[in-house]
Amino acid sequence: MARLLTASVVAATAALSAHALAQPAPLSAPEKIYAALAALPKAERSARIEQGARAEGKLVLVHTLRGALGAGHVELFHKRYPFLALDVAGEIGSQDAAERLLAEETAGRHLTDAIVTAVMDLDELIRRNQVARYPTPAVDAILPRYRAFIDPQNRWIPWFWSEHGISYNTSLVPPSQTPRQWSDLCNPFFRGAVSFDPAENRFLSGLNAMLGEAATVRLLECIGKNDPIVQRGHTQRMELMLAGDHMVQGDNYLYQGVAMQRKNSATPFAIVYSAPILATNDVAAINRNAPNPYAAALFADWTLSAESQAYLAKQLRGPVGLPHPYLPDNVTLIDNIDPPKETMDRLLAAWFRHVEKPR
């Protein structure tokens, strides 16, 4: 599998860091604990964290792996550390998780210890210095190809990644018309038969990282001319496509189709491996004012443990400590980092002008 575009990650990290670097804030109480832990040998550090977590006895977590997937992951953690009482909200999305922590902290209420979120949704929390710096040797478990996901300033712990790409219904798309690249979404053969979710920053930032702004706008323009379907709900779009509603998922998670196909081999699903796949870095981030800092650290480290990573692979999600469960090694990955706000505003405007044309 191709390496991630390290340079772009560094650029994004630099952009996210600019504010914090300009005005270094004093360390919060949890950050002081984490700084002290960083000075300890690995074994002693782990023992100290577990000891501290035992004393705290509780972890308040917003876990954005949905439904049974997230519940299974939390259950595994609890099995490992049964002394912790877990207060887990597992029914909200990545953006909502970041918004919830932001709301609590803005109101001066320190309720949540850690959240699981896509790194791009941390932007506002980082800008407001509400994420703890947590240096941890656990990141040593991350495979070299994913090390670009690591934050040099230790504000997040990458532990899985999500793939967005093109897929299609093999019953509806004849082999001669199989899409190969993103530009094939403009093929008139697919007129009115390519679906997208309503405006998503991560999709647009991925296209921007892959093509640059001008080419992204041109792609959106030609997609728009092909009368795309815009419909809310990744899973529902996938199900509708596989039921024969339309031919192609212009952008969607790929694992759902793979899971359905493994459940029923007749599922008419195929992934376009030749088109680059957009990768979202999913992380654990600790509240700068976490009420249970040791428990938060315990969870953050555990996410990169062998059992946590194996669980992800079994569930067809993208672990960072293990090879991907179904994507071939030679697929090209694009890290869909957030571009500057002005660029994103222009991309969103182009999206609404060409693709999601309101009536």
Binding site: G67, A89, Q95, I229, T235, E239, Q256
Partner: protein, 568 residues
């Protein structure tokens, strides 16, 4: 405490409840709409205000296009829902149509099905390419996609069907409490059924009719599932989807979302004033007096079979189609259009999987507590509001009605956020409890329940209360022993409506959910997000069965202790 003192205490408590439950959220919404700072930020509480959010929201062409979409959608859905609902209420409550009771139960049972599943069911029935109707049209007549549910008319159709049970409950309660002697008098003058219905029955039900129109219109403006699942694909954006997309980004633009909510409030105020003008003389609609009466059913002769067939066809569309779609889907291993292979692959696996998941138990218990508790609290509050507004001469009493009804203008996502923010800022330990959800529901469901009970209250003649007072009964005793029993049709309809909706409400529950206060609807959402539509179908089938039994029981109880017995 003296008799007068108890009444005053009840009034003071009511004002306190309304102030806390309604004025505070509205103040918060209006305040937020005038701020660029987020709640909790230092500048949020300062006394500097800006209209920047209003300029952003209302200044562009998009707002007016969205307004037009919203209003035309609401108008069309209201009209259709009202016509069908009024017909159903009349057939079920006032005629000797065969199977009327069963039709009523099936119609009310429909509200047990979560709205999101109704929308999905109709997508599976009438979407292009895979919809059952389009498949049949192609196979039988060679027609390609004659119907498209992803359209304005598709949205209106599904939303209108969604609202028919509400219309039925509102009008049915009024029809049940109608004095038949007035109709008999009309008949004696030689007027036929149609003339009597038009000149006597419907005008007498004017408060309920106006309440139904008002509620249907505002409920449609606040509707979310249909615009989200069908409107987005049709390119039809309305207020609620706009607010949803505004609150789906980080950081959420609370100022802009609140500004849209203020627009909804303005619409609600205008409509509420129109409603008050329409039903301004409450005494005209009083049919329940001290004299004995029994609501009489109209004998339609052979036409009763025609009304039966038509009502059955409608209830099939409203309840049967979505239910059968869910039943069908719940038996499949993966969704596929009906075929021999699909039927051969059916099993009960989705049901077993549901029962094996222990994490569904606590949320079900939570909802089973929340639903009845909230419904009871709401019904008590709105009964008091109705009483003070309609049976007293208190200055400013209309304000109580307005406060009780105004939350209809707050979209659930904004209401949920307001309660979340409020209890974050105010140091009360309610975050993560069932109480915070219950309080939010109290505000959310007051408007609908108020119109149910208000319409019934208008039919109760003031002479009953006055007679009880003359007989020396205390105010509390009169209220509990005379007023509430007389209001039973409206109270029961309101209680059922609130209970079922509180059981299945999602948006607020999701915004306020933590590990200990998850509700059944959050489980539904989990299944939905997981893409387990088939298991979701299984859950919905079970919920439908359970709540239909509850509705049937309620009807039995209503028949046993309803108006007939109280006044006879």
């Amino acid at each position: 405490m003296t008799r007068l003192g108890l009444k005053e205490a009840a009034l003071a408590l009511l004002i306190a409840v309304l102030a806390y439950q309604v004025i505070v959220p509205f103040a918060m919404i209006i305040w937020t709409s005038l701020k660029l700072a987020r709640p909790g930020e230092p500048d949020f509480l300062s006394l500097s205000f800006t209209f920047a959010n209003y300029l952003r929201a209302y200044g562009g062409e998009a707002f007016w296009r969205i307004s037009l979409n919203t209003l035309s959608f609401a108008f069309a859905a209201t009209l259709i829902a009202f016509v069908i609902g009024a017909f159903m209420a009349w057939v079920i409550e006032r005629t000797h149509t065969p199977l009327a009771g069963l039709i009523g139960v099936l119609l009310i049972g429909r509200i047990a099905i979560p709205g999101i599943l109704i929308a999905i069911s109709w997508i599976l029935v009438a979407s292009p390419n895979i919809g059952l109707i389009n498949q049949m049209a192609l196979r039988l007549a060679g027609l390609r996609n004659p119907i498209n549910i992803y359209s304005f008319s598709g949205m209106v159709f599904v939303q209108a069907l969604e609202l028919v049970p509400l219309t039925y409950l509102l009008l049915g309660a009024a029809f049940k409490a109608m004095d038949p002697r007035l109709e008999e008098a009309s008949a004696m003058t030689g007027a036929g059924h149609w003339h009597t219905l038009r000149r006597i029955s419907l005008p007498l039900a004017l408060p309920a009719v106006a309440a139904a129109l008002l509620l249907l219109f505002l409920t449609t403006i606040e509707a979310f599932e249909v615009p989200l699942l069908m409107g987005t694909r049709a390119g039809m954006r309305v207020y609620t989807t706009e607010i949803f997309y505004d609150t789906s980004r980080t950081p959420v633009d609370w100022g802009l979302s609140s500004t849209y909510a203020v627009a909804l409030l303005a619409v609600a105020i205008v409509l509420l004033f129109a409603y008050f003008r329409l039903v301004g003389h409450g005494e005209r609609y009083q049919t329940i007096t001290g004299k004995d009466f029994r609501p009489r059913r109209i004998d339609l002769g052979p036409w009763r079979y025609a009304t039966c067939v038509l009502a059955l066809a409608l209830v099939f569309l409203i309840t049967g189609v979505p239910f059968l779609m869910m039943l069908y889907a719940s038996l499949l291993p993966f969704y596929q259009v009906p075929s021999t292979a699909a039927f051969a692959s059916m099993s009960l696996d989705n049901y077993w999987t549901l029962f094996q998941n222990s994490k569904t138990v606590t949320p079900m218990i939570n909802s089973s507590i929340l639903g009845p508790a909230v419904a009871t609290a709401v019904v008590l509050v709105v009964a008091l509001i109705s009483y003070f507004v309609q049976k007293t001469r208190l200055p400013g009493r209309r304000l109580l009605d307005f406060l009780g009804f105004a939350p209809v203008a707050i979209p659930s996502v904004v209401l949920g956020a307001t309660f979340f923010w409020f209890y974050l800022i105010v140091p009360l330990p309610l975050i993560g409890t069932l109480t915070i959800i219950g309080l939010a529901y109290l505000t959310k469901y007051m408007p609908v329940a108020l119109r149910f009970v208000s319409a019934s209250m208008m039919q109760v003649h003031a002479e009953l209360d006055e007679a009880a007072q003359v007989a020396g009964g205390s105010w509390a005793r009169n209220f509990l022993k005379i007023m509430l029993p007389l209001l039973k049709p409206g109270l029961l309809a309101a209680w059922l409506w609130v209970m079922v909706h509180a059981y299945r409400e999602l948006t607020i529950a999701l915004m306020l959910a933590r590990s200990q206060n998850r509700t059944a609807s959050v489980v539904i959402f989990d299944l939905w997000e997981e893409g387990s539509f088939l298991r979701l179908g299984a859950l919905a089938v079970l919920m439908f069965g359970l709540l239909s039994v509850l509705c049937a029981l309620a009807r039995v109880i209503s028949a046993r202790f309803g108006v007939e017995e109280q006044v006879a």
